[in-house]
Amino acid sequence: MKGLVIYMETIYEIMENMLPFSWMQYNFMKNALLAVLIITPLFGILGTMIVNNRMAFFSDALGHSALTGIALGVILGITNTYLAMILFAIIFALVLNKISRRKTLSTDTVISVFSSFSLAIGLVILSRGGNFAKYSSLLVGDILSITAKELTYLVLVFILTMVFWCFGFNKLHSVSANETLAKSKGINCNLIQDCFSIIIAIIVMFSIRWVGILIINALLILPAASSRNLAANMREYHLFSVIISVFSGISGLIISYYFGTATGPTIVIVASVIFFLTLLIRSLSNIK
């Protein structure tokens, strides 16, 4: 723990020297900026395949399951909220995958039923005795409350995701294009899809406290959706998505500081404006 403090102080010093702005003098702003720099590239990267696989609804449901995870943690007496949330989200994601694969119901319906059910359970448990106000900050999130310890979690998540992306991306990409074809090439489709779902679950759970349940999905979808309007191949798709995601994150954070608004929604507004701009660029280039 002491090592972490010294380490963080070095980073703070570097940041102050490099960015001599008035908002940089607060440690909570430095932490927030670091969090944005770590997590927004991940949102940009994961978003590409979430959009390709039409999983927007799935990741949304995962966000909602955070409340249920916390609630079950409270009931079972798990003190580490992150652990409860992540365990529940992973189980939730794997069960959803399993049921969707049976193809007895349409995927949309399955996700909708499970999402509403689990959200309701979470709300019922947490609102027992009128205590829900304690948890309402989860809905919009609070990036300024992020701690140095949580930042180290984010770094670990970042490394985990990058390792999966480097080794699993080609397979994930093939499965998304055509499952039968991927299988004929010897790819274990279910395994890859499950790994991807677990990674999404982990990232969503680690970011939900500061982004908020209501808008986390927007941050996953918008950068990739914007990038699609401009990119011609996977490399451009990733590059533009990451740039848009990081840019929205940083500018949203700074704007929210000066206007005193909630950070998460401010980031979403920036990302949405970028989306409409890219849409405009695309339709203009189509006319030509």
Partner: protein, 249 residues
């Protein structure tokens, strides 16, 4: 190209010693028997055509052979020269792709993801690029490498998928012929390519086909499927049979 008479079946460069035995394949889905007790012997260098109505179980049979759906029965691959059983490598050409319009996926991305370990989002490997170019050239698709997959015409996509299916060269090639989206010229080119595969490569082919002219001219063996094999034999035997006529005429 398609005007050749049926008596002049093309010579194949295949060795003819590889034999694929498909034994007693049945697929049961949700308590319903979709295909029942299918037996097939397939040799390299031969084209086996599967015909039948919609819902007859043609695609199900293909997916069972691929091992994608649960089935009973076995598939054996033997080299007749020494009777050694080896692993069957299967290539597959799907009917359509699950790629939405506007998806930023180039032909290179699609192709490289199957054959290269370099993550396609990171960089374009020049070695993989070269190999893909060569493979696309086999089917006159080398100009498509940087095009978006979602922008390809039905015929262009077919040629790209053919190239992917034969990289690396499989022992058995399964083709689910497209029903729509490929125009007449595209179809003719597609058939020319199938014939090229038969003459130049050492592989067996199973084609789910809806084009009886093609089947009559180029198939070596025809199977009329309707849950079970209703009729099989040479194209003449099947296409002129009472069973075929009562089903399609």
């Amino acid at each position: 190209m398609l005007k050749r008479s049926s008596s002049q079946k093309l010579e194949s460069s295949a060795c003819g010693f590889h034999c694929i035995k498909i034994k007693d394949i049945s697929v049961n889905a949700g308590g319903q028997l979709i295909i029942d007790n299918i037996n097939l012997h397939i040799h390299c260098g031969k084209i086996t055509a599967i015909i039948g109505k919609n819902g007859a179980g043609k695609s199900t049979l293909i997916k069972a052979i691929l091992g994608e759906i649960k089935h009973e029965g076995t598939i054996e691959f033997t080299d007749l020269r020494n009777n050694a059983v080896s692993n069957l490598k299967i290539g597959y050409v799907p009917q359509h792709m699950n790629i939405e319009k506007n998806t930023p996926m180039s032909v290179y991305d699609l192709f490289a993801a199957y054959i290269s370990k370099v993550p396609v989002f990171l960089r374009k490997s020049s070695r993989t690029s070269k190999l893909i170019n060569e493979q696309l050239r086999v089917f006159q698709a080398q100009d498509l490498i940087d095009k978006r997959v979602s922008d390809l015409s039905g015929g262009e996509l077919q040629r790209v998928l053919l190239s992917i299916a034969i990289t690396p060269i499989p022992n058995l090639l399964l083709l689910d012929e497209p029903i729509s989206g490929v125009d007449r010229n595209g179809m003719n080119l597609f058939y020319q390519n199938i014939i090229k595969l038969k003459t130049d490569y050492d592989l067996a082919m199973i084609i789910v086909s809806h084009d009886f002219d093609f089947v009559r001219k180029y198939a070596d063996h025809v199977i009329l499927l309707e849950k079970v094999i209703i009729k099989e034999g040479t194209p003449e035997e099947v296409l002129d049979s009472e069973e075929f006529k009562s089903m399609f005429l």
